[in-house]
């Protein structure tokens, strides 16, 4: 069972104070901590588990710049066997279709039974790349996968729908699945673990080698003409309780008591 997993490096944003450049065209990323996209972490774990049960190998692929080697090392430490880095800054302003095109070129000649991506990336949240890959490769697929059971040449997968409901499907292999969080409990990767895989060679490629021209990637190859970024205004919405911690808690208690449900 050979499995390819697409992983993306994303900035950690929940605790971060985000800043945008003056023109409103770019998010300033220098001070942001980078990490593996949450969904991709589950995808790598799932691939490694399937490999451990059925044999074969796991290949991880990322498209980004050379700093993205980190997500590949993390994935290798989790148990992936091989890694490919599409080291190409030209994709900076690509939309999901452009990114999918780059990944497609890098993996189309690999032989695999399964290809996993995350459901979505936490930064742009397109939720598109895995599905576009399915169409480019002409393979069956399922998105939002929360359960996989592999039989001879086919699998039963569970897709997550709304309101605590799931859908059960049968799909032949090879196939593409986009993995939803919660499908497993990803193993923890220590710095020691990453040290251990530092000698594994990462295969590098770029758009030239993949035969992609400047017209096909970046802003030229994107369907988006321009984007204007802004931070939603603070202070719209909730009344922020002010004062000392004690005063705040006192006010909160009063609000709760005033509702008369206790």
């Amino acid at each position: 069972m050979n499995i390819v997993v697409c992983v993306r490096q994303v900035p950690e944003v929940t605790d971060a104070e985000l800043e945008i450049n003056k023109e409103g065209t770019e998010i300033l990323k220098e001070d942001l901590e980078m990490d593996i996209n949450e969904w991709d972490n589950y995808a790598v774990e799932e691939a490694v588990r399937i490999k451990e049960e059925h044999g074969g190998k796991v290949t991880v692929v990322t498209l980004g710049d050379e700093d993205c080697e980190d997500v590949l090392r993390t994935s290798l430490a989790m148990g992936a066997d091989e890694a490919i880095l599409i080291n190409e800054e030209g994709f900076e302003l690509s939309d999901a279709a452009g990114i999918a095109k780059g990944i497609y070129r890098a993996i189309r000649d690999l032989s695999f039974d399964l290809l996993f991506t995350g459901v979505q990336c936490s930064d742009n949240g397109w939720a598109q790349v895995g599905l576009i890959l399915a169409e480019l490769l002409g393979l069956p697929y399922a998105s939002l996968v929360v359960g996989i059971e592999i039989n001879e040449g086919t699998m039963i997968v569970r897709r997550e729908l709304e309101s605590n409901t799931e859908e059960k499907l049968q799909i032949p292999m090879p196939a593409i699945l986009t993995i939803q969080t919660g499908i497993n409990s990803p193993r923890y990767v220590s710095i020691m673990g990453i040290q251990k895989v530092r000698k594994i060679e990462i295969r590098e490629t770029d758009s030239e080698e993949l035969g992609l021209s400047e017209e096909e990637i970046g802003v030229k190859g994107s369907h988006v003409a321009s984007q204007k970024l802004s931070l939603p205004p603070v202070g719209e919405g909730a009344e922020i309780l002010e004062g000392s911690l004690d005063e705040i808690c006192e006010k909160t208690a009063q609000i709760v008591l005033d509702k008369g449900v206790i």
Partner: protein
């Protein structure tokens, strides 16, 4: 006249809210730009259901086939391809739902359509499409202008438009024959599974104390439990807490969990992603505690506390102990 096509969404004989939300914005765009609104309805023995859209669009296109009884990407893709190729609508609208997320990107790639997913606002200016998206977990707004195109495909975030769609139209129904199913990839629908209701029913609680990833580790939950006990509240959570199995899945609030409407909802360390908001924004009173003043939860909370929850919790528990 230019046409906007809305893909109606239904499951198990019920129309989904997103169908009406999409029609609301489609009708608004239609009015502003003099475009006709068409609801595309794929199903099996579904004419009664599709008739419920009569008042809210100009045309209903009804395609019926046993293979369309349940959503299956293989058949839906072929069916929609047939319709789009014959009608060439300027905009096709699909929900950013479990169904639409599964369908739209593949459709866009197959038909070479420019696609923007998860839009919360849409405008058409001189046949050019402008959309608003929320990125970086809702902390940044991105206004996108698409390159000029004869056709666009968009998916709309559930809950972004009014589900009480204005009635007053009276659509004709045109039936469209299903294509012969030739280009299938072997995906088979086997059935739905509904999660059993073990544990408590959070939807029945008057007061919910809800925790998110900000709880940090499972050992911290007892602190929140103490507070919840002091006011007789039930504990609920955001998705990561359930994913980590720190609380059972039945406690998860949101699109893929439960929709709740308690009298009081107190959120600790929850950023307020829209999938979470969708499950709790109709609570009577929402109080949010978060260290990040820019957390999206504060846009829907009634009261906000910008503080470390671990400082707030013990003190708050104490207030009620008295």
């Amino acid at each position: 006249m230019e046409e906007i096509v809305v893909l109606a969404e239904h499951r198990d004989g019920e129309l989904r809210d997103i169908t009406f939300e999409m029609l609301t914005i489609a009708n608004q765009l239609g009015k502003e730009n003099d475009m006709a609104v068409t609801a595309l309805f794929l199903g099996h023995e579904a004419s009664d259901l599709s008739n419920r859209l009569k008042g809210a669009c100009d045309t209903i296109l009804l395609m019926e086939d046993p293979e369309l009884a349940h959503y299956n990407a293989d058949h839906y893709l072929m069916a929609i391809e047939t319709v789009i190729k014959s009608r060439n609508p300027i905009v096709t609208v699909i929900g950013h739902t479990a169904m639409g997320m599964d369908l739209a990107p593949v459709m866009a790639a197959r038909l070479s359509l420019p696609l923007v997913t998860d839009c919360v606002a849409v405008n058409v200016v001189d046949k050019k499409l402008d959309v608003l998206r929320q990125i970086y977990g809702g902390k940044i707004n991105a206004q996108l202008t698409m390159k000029p195109s004869d056709q666009y495909l968009i998916t709309l975030r559930p809950g972004s438009f009014d589900a009480e769609v204005e009635q007053g139209k009276s659509a004709d129904t045109q039936t469209v024959p299903a294509p012969s199913w030739t280009d299938l990839k072997g995906r088979q629908f086997l059935g739905y599974i509904e999660a059993e209701l073990k544990d408590v029913d959070i939807a029945a609680a008057d007061i919910l104390v809800s925790i998110g990833r900000g709880i940090g580790k499972p050992e911290n939950i007892s602190l929140v439990q103490d507070f919840a006990d002091s006011i007789g509240a039930t504990l609920s959570c955001s998705r990561p807490v359930a994913d980590e199995e720190w609380l059972p899945k039945s406690r998860q609030v949101g699109t893929s969990g439960k929709t709740v409407r308690p009298k009081i909802y107190i959120a600790f360390g929850i950023s307020g992603a829209y999938q979470h908001q969708a499950g709790m924004k109709n609570a009577d009173t929402i109080i949010a505690v978060n260290t990040d003043p820019r957390a999206p939860i504060f846009t829907i909370a009634h009261y906000g506390i910008v503080e470390d929850m671990f400082k707030v919790l013990p003190l708050l528990t104490e207030k009620f102990a008295k």
